[in-house]
């Protein structure tokens, strides 16, 4: 059977599964719609969080990105996992104890202020929308490459599926589809990785094969360092970014992860505080399975790619090369007219020019074909990519819809809403959000791709400090929180906008403050938020007595009697 046939079958089966789960888990109350009635088992929630968290970027792009930047790729590996330690230790148990539906709700009550709540809602919607548009685009791209439909139809099919289970099932439907999606995506990621690890190093565990030896007896990583240097690239295990920049980018990604509303709300769905802690551990374990495989895949794929293509005649290029040439993800220009494909870095010792253009996404997408794996494995990768994109999109859409129906309408503008009406509004908001996300997926505004990476900086500089201070300090007040959130997000957004859009020509280390790139500036924004919040608090009235009780109560799992 051909690849296309296999892909339709496997993608079709997984979609049927998601729809089946959606029908089974329809939500009938706001509690079910917002937090799945707080009845989700901690391990199931761990899987759902894994799928919620790992997006099209983690699944499709990350390994390729690492394979091109080598050691510096660690900013993503550490940055996108280390945040879960912060979540488990500093946020999740206390927010679960608080026991409401949304992050802005916590901000609003802890800081006894509708203004603080509205600021938090705007931050949440802004962060979530930038993120979701990228996911829908990812869905469209997977459809067009693997199923040979155009991107627009691909996005519409994806939107239809998400619409169905997010609008019908709310958090309950999303949770159980995410559990299924985690299983699909992790199997799809591991099978090719294991095959390739065996082929290259003889070790079936990619994490060990990564440090293993090749058939010629040399260590994979030493071999790769040698290949890289011989072709004029930096050594694979050496870094090129400055230490301070690596430090700040890692911190921005970690803190941003811990501050992303769609991740935080997952911990509202478990029955107890102790479950919230445990669930964060399971979530990180499930995520780490992929995240420790990714750097291995990156090294395998790069070695494989260089060995199969570099200095080989184009006429005898493998068939996958010709297939992927059509997608323009890989291309060759014969600059010296010798019919041989030279792959070179900027300063190749032999002075030859680079002739191969390789897109980073190909490292995961074409990996099974490069390693000559069976057709059904290729199809599985397509289903995995879709699972990763759809599950993240659904989690984000839920944040947007709860922000609108619960934080804006029910709590501020339409207080007289009955629960039934609120549920209708939640569905309407989810429907609208899906439609807008789909629109952006089909017509991506130029800035989306660039902004997605910055959602982390914005989350780090707005939510994280004031949630932490709200739990660990009884003194911080609303004036401090509002000033802190605004200064953090405005500073971070301004720095990013300046270097990315206003004056992109100046976007280099010489002009950056302290050598920190826009990717890492969220860390500085976060520090600014902390400082502004504390200083303003010092000069403004202390919070009312009842806030002290609220904080004391949030700190212990059991309900305290007054």
């Amino acid at each position: 059977m051909g690849i296309l046939m296999w892909t339709w079958i496997i993608v079709g089966l997984t979609f049927a599964l998601y729809i089946g789960i959606a029908i089974w888990s329809r939500a009938s109350s706001t509690g079910e719609f917002y937090v799945a009635s707080k009845q989700v088992h901690p391990i199931a929630n761990g899987m759902a969080t894994g799928a919620d968290w790992m997006s099209a970027a983690s699944f499709i792009s990350m390994a390729g990105l690492i394979s091109f930047i080598g050691r510096d790729g660690a900013v993503y590996l550490m940055g996108w996992t280390g945040g879960y330690v912060l979540l488990a230790l500093l946020l999740a148990p206390y927010l679960r104890k608080f026991g409401k539906y949304t992050v802005p709700e916590f901000v609003g009550e802890r800081y006894y202020s509708d203004v603080a709540r509205i600021v938090a809602v705007i931050c949440a919607i802004f962060v979530s929308f930038t993120y979701v548009a990228g996911q829908m685009r990812g869905v469209g791209i997977v459809f067009s490459r693997f199923l040979e439909v155009d991107i627009t139809s691909g996005v519409i099919i994806g939107v239809g599926i998400v619409f169905f289970y997010a609008v019908l099932g709310g958090m309950k439907g999303i949770t159980y589809t995410q559990v299924a999606q985690y299983c699909v995506l992790i199997v799809a990621y591991l099978i090719p990785a294991i095959f390739i690890s065996i082929l290259m190093t003889g070790n079936p565990i990619p994490q060990l094969g990564f440090g293993g030896t090749l058939s010629d007896g040399s260590y994979l990583l030493s071999k790769l360092d040698g290949l890289n240097e011989a072709l004029g690239f930096a050594a694979y295990t050496g870094g090129t970014k400055s230490t301070i920049d690596v430090f700040f980018i890692t911190a921005a990604l970690m803190v941003g992860t811990a501050g992303l509303p769609h991740v935080i709300i997952r911990f509202f769905t478990v029955p107890k505080v102790a479950d919230a802690r445990k669930s964060a551990g399971w979530a990180l374990l499930f995520i780490a399975i992929l995240y420790t495989t990714a750097p291995a895949v990156a090294a395998f794929a790069r070695t494989n790619m260089i060995q199969t293509l570099n200095d080989k005649p184009y006429a005898s290029a493998p068939s996958w090369f010709k297939n992927w040439e059509e997608t323009k993800l890989i291309s060759w220009t014969d600059k010296n007219n010798d019919g041989i494909m030279q792959y070179r870095g900027a300063n190749a010792p032999d002075g030859l020019e680079n002739e191969l253009k390789v897109d980073r996404d190909i490292m995961v997408l074409a990996n099974p074909e490069i390693a000559q794996l069976p057709n059904w494995v290729v199809a599985l990768v397509a289903a995995g990519g879709l699972a990763a994109a759809l599950s993240t999109a659904a989690g984000l859409l839920l944040v947007i819809s709860t922000s609108v129906s619960h934080d804006l309408l029910k709590s501020i503008f339409m207080k007289e809403l009955s629960e039934k009406q609120e549920l209708v509004w939640a569905r309407v908001a989810a429907g609208f959000a899906v439609a807008i996300a789909g629109y952006f997926g089909i017509n991506p505004p130029g800035f989306v791709a660039q902004v997605v990476a910055f959602a982390f900086g914005l989350a780090a500089s707005s939510f994280f400090p004031i949630i932490i201070l709200g739990i660990f300090s009884k003194k911080v007040n609303k004036e401090g929180a509002i000033a802190g959130m605004l200064s953090g997000i405005v500073f971070t957004a301004a720095y990013i906008i300046y270097f990315k859009f206003v004056n992109p020509g100046a976007n280099n280390a010489a002009n950056w403050w302290f050598g920190i790139s826009p990717e890492g500036i969220g860390t500085l924004g976060m520090l600014l938020n902390f400082i502004v919040t504390l200083v303003v608090t010092k000069f403004t009235p202390a919070p009312p007595e009842k806030i002290q009780h609220l904080v004391e109560n949030v700190r212990v799992p059991k309900e305290l009697s007054a």
Binding site: R71, G212, F247, G281, L560
Partner: protein, 86 residues
């Protein structure tokens, strides 16, 4: 009993646990994986340079362990002070 003193002692112990675990969290990632990476790279084990391994694999594995240690410490602490949920 959840008296005021007890709750304060509970919170203090929690903060101590956080300090210990977050120090390890910082040392393995920002310390070994970023600030000291070049020095550690002089040490080899299997096919890895040690600093590179901490940056790309080791930190992630240790993060998972840290959370489960916290879970187990806190479950004991909750039981000791009688503040666990029923």
């Amino acid at each position: 009993m959840a008296t005021k003193e007890n709750l304060e002692a509970y919170w203090k112990t929690n903060l101590k646990y956080l300090a210990i675990l977050l120090s390890i969290w910082f040392v393995v990632s920002y310390g070994f994986g970023i600030l000291l990476v070049d020095a550690l790279d002089n040490i080899h084990f299997f096919g890895f340079k040690l600093g590179f391994w901490f940056a790309q694999q080791g930190s992630e594995i240790i993060f998972v362990i840290l959370i489960f240690v916290y879970v187990s410490w806190m479950n004991k602490l909750d039981a000791k002070y009688g503040v666990a949920e029923e």
